[in-house]
Amino acid sequence: MPEGGKYRKERLDRGIKARSDTLYVLASWKDLCYLLLPRVVPLGLLFILPVVLHGSYWEKVLFYSCIFGLLSLSWDLMAAVGLVSLGQALFFGAGAYMAGALNHYLGWPIFLSIPAGTLGGAAFCTILLVLVVRLRGVYFSIVTLILPLLFAHLIETLEILEGTHGLLSLSPYPSGWLAIYLAIVGLVVVLFGFRKLLDEDFGMILRGIKDDDRVIMAAGVNVYWYKAQAIFLAGAVGSFAGALMTHYYQFVGRSVLALDYTILPLAAVVMGGTGSFAGAVLGSFILVPLSEALRAMGGLRMALYGLILISALAALPEGIFHYLERKYHQFERMVKI
C-alpha cells in the first residue's frame, strides 16, 4: 500500500477487446486468442485426457469428475431459477434405479436403458417436485432434503427393487472408451447447452423468476410451468449421471440416494461459483480428484466437503470461477483519491 494520501481500488477492463451485449468485436489475432483460449484449451485437455490416462486409476477419477460435474450442473440450473436443492441425490438415484431396473427386469440393453433412465428419472422427479414448487424457498429445499431419504427407506422397508441388496450384475459398457467419452461429451453438451439456454429468452425468464416472481406473474407468464421445465431439465441431467454410473458399476443400490451425492455437488458449485455453470464443472474437477486423493480419510471426507462449503460461503461467495473470470477480464490498481 503506497504511503501518504488516500487510495482506492479501481477495476478496469483490459484494453484487449471491445464487448457489447451480444457481439464481440475482433481487432486482431490477439483478441481471437483471448476469447477462444479459455474455452478451447480446457475442452481440448478434457478430450485428450482419457487417452493419456488410459488404463490407470485416474481414468476412473476422470469419469467420476464428469458424473459429479453433471450433477453440479443440474443443481446450478435449478439454482438459476431460484430453487435450491438439498437433494440432488434424488435425481441421481431416480435415473440410476430406472436404468438399472429396465436392464435387470426387462433386459433392456445399455443404449436403451440409459436414455430411458434419463427421461424416466426426470419425469419421476418432476412429478414429485411440481407438487411442492409453490413453497417458499426454504421449505422447498427441506422437501428436497427429505425425499432421497424417504425413498431410501421405502426401498428398504418395502423390499422393492431388491431392497438392501440392490440390483446386481447389470450390463457393462461394450467398451471402456464409450463410457468415458459418453460422460465427457454429455458434460460438454450440457455445460454449453445450459449456458446458451440462460442467454435465450427462456433463460431470461428463469432469471427473472429468481429475481421477482410476482413481476413475472403480473406479466402473464406461468411461473410454475417454467419452474417445472427447469426441474425436468435438471432432473434429466441428474438422472443421466445416475444412469451412466449404474452401468459403470454394473450395480445399483440404496447408496445412490446417499447424502454424498447431494453434498459434493453442492460444495463443488458453491466453491466454483453459482450461476456460471462453468464454475460447477470447475468445482467438481477440483473436488472429485481431491476426494480420491484423500481416500484414506474415509468418512472424514464428508466433513471436508462441509468445511469447504462453509469457507466458500463465508469467504468467497462469488466462487472461484467468477473470481478467475474477473481477474481475466479486469485488472485492479490503486488510484489516488
Binding site: 438439498l86 407438487l131 422437501v143 427429505i146 424417504l150 458453491v270 460461503l313
Partner: protein, 315 residues
C-alpha cells in the same frame, strides 16, 4: 425393584429414542409409551422451533449439537473424571456458547438469504457429525447416566423413572418456554425479529444480539434434551441427522411458529410412531416421519396450527 432390560434395541435402533413396541398391544402401554415418546419429540423440537420458528434462524446443526452435548458430557465424565452435574452444566454452557459464536462468526455474514443459512448450518452439522463418527463415538460403551435410576409400575406396565422424569421435565420446559416467548421482553424480541426485522430494529431491538441469543438458547435446549433422553439408550452419531429430522417433522406438522404447534406436532408424530412400531414393523417409523413431512408440506405447508405463513408461500 429392578426394571426389565432396556427395551427398544431392535437391529438398527441403538437410537436411545426408539419408541417402544407395546409388547402386549395393551392400551395402557400404548398410552404411556405414546406420551413419553411425544414428550421426547417435543424436547428435541423446542430448541429448533425456538430458533427457526420463532426467531427465523434455521439451525440445521440442531441435531449435531444434541449429539455433541451428549458426547461432551461423556468425555468430561469418563475421560476427565468430572462429576456428572459439572459435566452436564459445562456441556450446556459450552454448546450454548457455540451457538452464540456460530451466529457471530458465520450466520451474520449470511443473514438475509434463508437458504444460505440452511446450507451453512447443514454444513456445520456434517462437519461435527462426521468428525465425531470418525472418532468413533458410537456404541454400547457410550452411555450417559440417568438422573434417577429404577422404575415404577403404572397400570401394570414397568416404566423407567427416567422416562417419567422426561415427561415432567419436558412439560416444564415447554410451559416455561411458552411463557418466555409471550411474557418476557427477550421473548418478544425473538418473535419481532422473525416477523419483521426492519420494524424490530426501528423500535430498538438489536437484531444481531437477539438472533445470537436465540441461537444460543436453542442450542442449549438441544443439549438439555440430549441429557434427558440419551440415558435411555446409547449414543450413536447417526442421531445427529435423525434428531434434526424429528425436530423438522414436529415443527412442520404442528406449525413452526408457535410452541403449541410444536406440542401438537410432537404428540401427533409421537403417537403415530408408537402405533406404527406396535402394529407394523419398526422400520416403518422413519418412513412415516419422512412421509409426514412431505405430505404436510404438499397439502398444508403452514402446519396444522400455522396461519402466518400462508400469506407468504403463495409465491
Amino acid at each position: 425393584m429392578e426394571s426389565p432390560a432396556l427395551p427398544g434395541f431392535q437391529e438398527n435402533a441403538l437410537k436411545a429414542f426408539a419408541p417402544q413396541r407395546a409388547v402386549r398391544e395393551g392400551q395402557v402401554e400404548i398410552i404411556i409409551y405414546g406420551v413419553t415418546n411425544s414428550v421426547s419429540l417435543a424436547l428435541m423440537a423446542i430448541g429448533f422451533s425456538l430458533t427457526f420458528g420463532i426467531s427465523g434462524l434455521p439451525n440445521f446443526a440442531h441435531g449435531a449439537f444434541y449429539l455433541l452435548g451428549g458426547i461432551l458430557t461423556w468425555v468430561f465424565m469418563n475421560q476427565l473424571g468430572l462429576p456428572y452435574l459439572v459435566s452436564a452444566l459445562l456441556s450446556v454452557l459450552l454448546i450454548g456458547a457455540l451457538g452464540f459464536f456460530l451466529y457471530w462468526g458465520l450466520m451474520l455474514r449470511l443473514r438475509g438469504l434463508a437458504i444460505n443459512e440452511v446450507i451453512a448450518t447443514l454444513a456445520v452439522a456434517i462437519v461435527i457429525i462426521e468428525v465425531l463418527r470418525w472418532m468413533g463415538f458410537s456404541g454400547f460403551s457410550y452411555v450417559l447416566p440417568p438422573f434417577v435410576r429404577g422404575s415404577l409400575n403404572i397400570g401394570g406396565v414397568w416404566v423407567d423413572i427416567q422416562r417419567l422424569l422426561l415427561v415432567g421435565i419436558g412439560a416444564l420446559l415447554v410451559v416455561l418456554l411458552y411463557l418466555f416467548t409471550r411474557r418476557t421482553r427477550t421473548g418478544f424480541s425473538f418473535r419481532a425479529i422473525a416477523q419483521n426485522e426492519r420494524t424490530a430494529i426501528a423500535v430498538g431491538i438489536d437484531p444481531d444480539w437477539t438472533a445470537a441469543l436465540s441461537l444460543a438458547m436453542g442450542s442449549a435446549l438441544a443439549v438439555v434434551a440430549g441429557l434427558t433422553i440419551l440415558p435411555l439408550g446409547a449414543i450413536d452419531t447417526e442421531m445427529g441427522y435423525d434428531i434434526l429430522l424429528y425436530a423438522l417433522a414436529v415443527g412442520i406438522i404442528g406449525g413452526l411458529e408457535s410452541i403449541p404447534g410444536a406440542v401438537l406436532g410432537s404428540f401427533i408424530l409421537g403417537f403415530s410412531q408408537v402405533l406404527v412400531a406396535t402394529f407394523l414393523r419398526a422400520q416403518w417409523q422413519t418412513v412415516v416421519t419422512l412421509a409426514a413431512i412431505v405430505l404436510i408440506l404438499a397439502v398444508k405447508p403452514s402446519g396444522i396450527l400455522g396461519k402466518y405463513k400462508e400469506l407468504e408461500e403463495r409465491v
